[in-house]
Assembly symmetry: C2
Homo-oligomer: 348 residues x 2
């Protein structure tokens, strides 16, 4: 890290700028003050900024404010960012401090990486009230993603007002907050002894994950659209069964290992190699950053097993011309695991 | 690096396997013996393999042979690879030795990276004989890309037989062989005092680079197709003039810095930032690996300056919705450089 800068940069601009354009942006509450203070205190002159795709549009405005308030030079990470697992460690090496926005810290990280959680402004109470009518039990597990965890207490109050006890599973492993789930980690939900879950958030992937990881009923409440629905895991299970069936004909498998620090499962990849080779399959280890269809096509793989983010096999399946299996699905293929109960791929 | 392995792995298989499938593959002469020997001598147990796109299809066969002959585990780099500038340094950290095929070493590299040049089998003599009829001078500069450098002597002989003296510019800077050019480096051609060049190779980019970097006539001879043509730089110059004109309206520029070790020009990026800011433009540093259109679109940049591989601005222009300029073109835009003579972007 460079030596502390002169205060010229910060004294040029008032600490509180009345026309600060950051704050409520794109529906998120961005609190940059802790970052600004940290830059000033540490004397950082060059600062990295990594922002998930949904907030990328705010990158220039955030960069502008940091430079204006601290005089530090900002380098924006331009590659796609899908989670804390995807920390830009290469940029960490180029800067004094790197701010990763929108996700909670995950695993071991370079010491100059700072995670800034970003709270979604959307209120949860209306949608939770609506969802309570769809819940069948008086006692439900409640789960959400990082951008809503700060509003979970309010959600539990609304449930209580409807006579329902909402339970938050413990933080731990890859999650930092009670009730938080990740696409690759449902430990907080699995720790609860309940018959039903309420997932508060957007998209089908996380609630499907809860349903498959727990085998229980899941009602999902989307604060962005106000929609309430019950998760039906059957269509996905049928698609996954189909993918395994299509992989039956493959003789040559690419075993994909992610470069992303929080998605790299090297020893799992080796376990998959061993399993496949023991069954007479040709197995090849392939190390890559973003797993795109043309990468696999150029190699001529007939099928692949992804040890990276489970969403690649499960959510992006339609993009790939060859079947891409999760590690537990490959175990089903080589008869090392029964198809039922379906084992959802989670990262430990 | 691990301690030397037992010889069990290598003694299981004969040193010379009569049915070795590598050798002449995809039109290239692959000499794996040096790699096999190096793995045996060093005792490497885990080996990385990085292969350019045109040879990717051979990755599994190469991997299979290395494992069969040495017992070492192979990890294939699955990300696209466009040159020695694009060394997979992340994979270098995971393996004992990394073999980078198809390019000559470039700049400082991790000590466990080994560059294995790959020779194209295609003979140059026929096409050079045909090209000699199109050459106007008795003394021409001869240039080619890495996969043909080993056949340049034969090309010079053919030229001599046609009464033409062929000259090879010196190696140096980013090139290892006399007569070699890179998409980003034409120093060997520029060092020659000639009025005409013969480029032997495929594609329009390198001969266009020679024409623009030297301002001289360039005849190109493609050994793959047998086609001879004269390079006309005017269409590209018109497109580049158009890109600069379109960037005139932009107020917000992304200055792109590549993560790739041989394409990272941080201080040039800062020079571009300073130039733009001095002209009242909003400039933002953006650090990324593969520069794809959606990366820039998500950020909302109105124009970009790429300090990465010059091909991104020049060759991929049609992919981008916004104008992407090279650094010298940005200097033209901000009136720090005249449009003529057009300065081709090279990496020092």
């Amino acid at each position: 890290m460079d030596s502390p800068p002169s205060t010229a940069g910060s004294s040029r601009k008032p600490l509180r700028d009345p026309d600060r354009e950051i704050g409520n942006i794109l529906g998120y509450n961005l609190k940059l003050d802790p970052a600004i203070e940290m830059i000033r205190r540490s004397g950082a002159r060059r600062v990295g900024l990594q922002i998930p795709e949904g907030l990328k549009r705010a990158a220039f405005a955030i960069s502008r404010q940091i430079t204006r308030e601290t005089g530090a030079e900002v380098i924006i990470s331009g590659d796609p960012c899908y989670g804390a697992c995807d920390l830009d460690v290469s940029l960490c090496r180029e800067v004094d401090l790197l701010f990763h926005l929108g996700h909670a810290e995950l695993g071991e990280c370079p010491s100059n990486a700072v995670f800034l959680e970003v709270e979604m402004i959307e209120d949860l109470r209306d949608v939770v009230g609506k969802a309570s009518e769809k819940l069948k039990s008086g006692r439900v597990g409640v789960a959400t993603t990082i951008q809503h965890v700060h509003k979970l207490e309010g959600a539990l109050q609304v449930l209580r007002a409807h006579g329902i006890e909402g339970l938050l599973g413990p933080a731990g492993g890859r999650t930092l907050h009670p009730g938080q789930v990740l696409g690759c980690c449902y430990s907080s939900a699995k720790a609860l002894d309940v018959d039903e879950y309420l997932f508060i958030g957007t998209g089908q992937f996380h609630p499907l994950g809860i349903a498959l990881a727990t085998g229980k009923r899941v009602v999902t409440a989307d604060p962005a659209t106000g929609e309430i629905s019950e998760i039906d895991p059957d269509p996905m299970l049928r698609r996954r069964f189909g993918a395994i069936a299509r992989a039956e004909d493959a003789k040559t498998f690419a075993v994909l290992i992610s470069k992303k620090p929080g998605q790299k499962r090297m020893s799992l990849a080796q376990h998959i190699m061993d399993l496949g080779e023991a069954k007479g399959l040709e197995m090849f280890l392939v190390y890559l950053d973003n797993i795109e269809p043309d990468r696999l096509q150029n190699l001529g793989a007939e099928a692949a097993v992804s040890t990276a983010c489970p969403r690649i096999a499960l959510d992006d399946a339609a993009k790939f011309k060859i079947p891409v299996l999760t590690p537990p699905e490959f175990e089903v293929l080589v008869r090392e695991r029964p198809w039922e109960p379906y084992r959802f791929d989670e990262i430990q």
